[in-house]
Point group: C2
Chain length 191, copies 2
DNA sequence: AAAGTTACTTACTTATAAGTAAGTTTGGCG
DNA sequence: CGCCAAACTTACTTATAAGTAAGTAACTTT
């Protein structure tokens, strides 16, 4: 019937990603995916057995995206500063253009109501993210670009926490919040 | 029938607060309130016409609590440092003991799915909070306790964002996150 | 003591959610 | 050409959600 057969699965994943990152697990239903696509709920179940499976796939996909992005950052061999800026730009785009949040936010908020699979994927994502940011912080300090006098791990944690919060406050208080917070992060690193 | 008649409304509000701050608007139902209390859903509707009314009341109550707490902080007339520490202790307790989040987090995440009343209350809370933290930052700089070279408003925003993020990351990565992040905030202020 | 008010309960409605089973269309292949 | 599997749809089930209307027990006021 419809022409682009093989891309339906990808289409579902894209919409699920937008909704999951935009509203959280409990904030959207299959209908929010199927109706705008002109398909039926059962079509989603054909590709993803359960909502848990679908959302796990969403986070796994995000992890892959991040892996390839950060891999690219690292390959470019640039300075820690340019790598941090790339990640900050990535987050900035997520908040301001896509108007959505890091999946960690959405999982953390409703943690008690979520299937174990989804929680597990989120935990892995949090470790991926922190490991990457920690490496960037270490590198930045070695290169003399960043200045901070605590463990690199702690600094990375603090930076990530601040960005998580920026996404929330931007929704409530306006988009200008994002650049102010990013500016402050750079400032606190001595940039 | 049941003895403590006048306190039912307060009981409902307390449980709704725990659930709202712990799981978000879409993460709990009336049953989660009524069942453990041994009452019926309709009893909740008697005290609060709709879920929107109930959750608006939860946030309004949180605003009152905060108003009196910050009022007390200010009255004690202590240094900005002691006021910041009091707020940090308040947040620390919320995350570690009550295992819940600032209502701003839960509203921001599912903003698109929420009734206007609830959004309005959250917006007011965000302004209350930022106004208070901004005053503390200004005071701290005047007193020579805090060091930062940007607008007090921006610093306050950044501190609040970081604390919002700490609540999330603590759920996914463990409670030690909270103290690390708080330590970093103090450190970045020159404490 | 009668009437009214408060604080509920019972019983219901309506809507929406996730999920399933069985049937249907379409394109590729022997 | 006919068969088969992939990719769906139709039609359904089951569960749960918010919300409502009508009734009732107990306290309060006149």
């Amino acid at each position: 019937m419809s022409v682009p057969r093989t891309s339906t699965r990808e289409h579902i994943l894209k919409r699920a990603t937008m909704l999951f990152q935009g509203r959280g697990y409990n904030g959207f239903s299959f209908k929010d995916i199927s109706a705008p696509m002109g398909i039926r709920n059962a079509a989603i179940h054909y590709h993803f057995r359960t909502k848990s499976d679908l959302c796990s796939a969403v986070i796994a996909r995000y992890r892959d995206l991040l892996k390839s992005e950060t891999g690219d950052f690292m390959k470019h061999g640039g300075s820690a500063k340019s790598q941090l800026d790339a990640y900050l730009a990535f987050i900035r785009h997520e908040i301001l253009d896509a108007r959505c949040m890091c999946p960690l936010t959405n999982v953390a908020v409703a943690l008690d109501t979520l299937p174990g699979e989804v929680r597990a994927q989120a935990t892995m994502l949090s470790h991926d993210l922190l490991a990457y940011l920690t490496r960037v912080m270490e590198l930045g300090r070695e290169q003399g670009e960043f200045q901070f006098n605590c463990a690199a791990e702690q600094k990375a944690l603090s930076v990530k926490a601040t960005l998580q919060g920026a996404g929330q406050l931007a929704r409530l208080m306006g988009p200008q919040v994002v650049d102010q917070v990013i500016d402050q992060i750079r400032c606190d690193l001595g940039l």
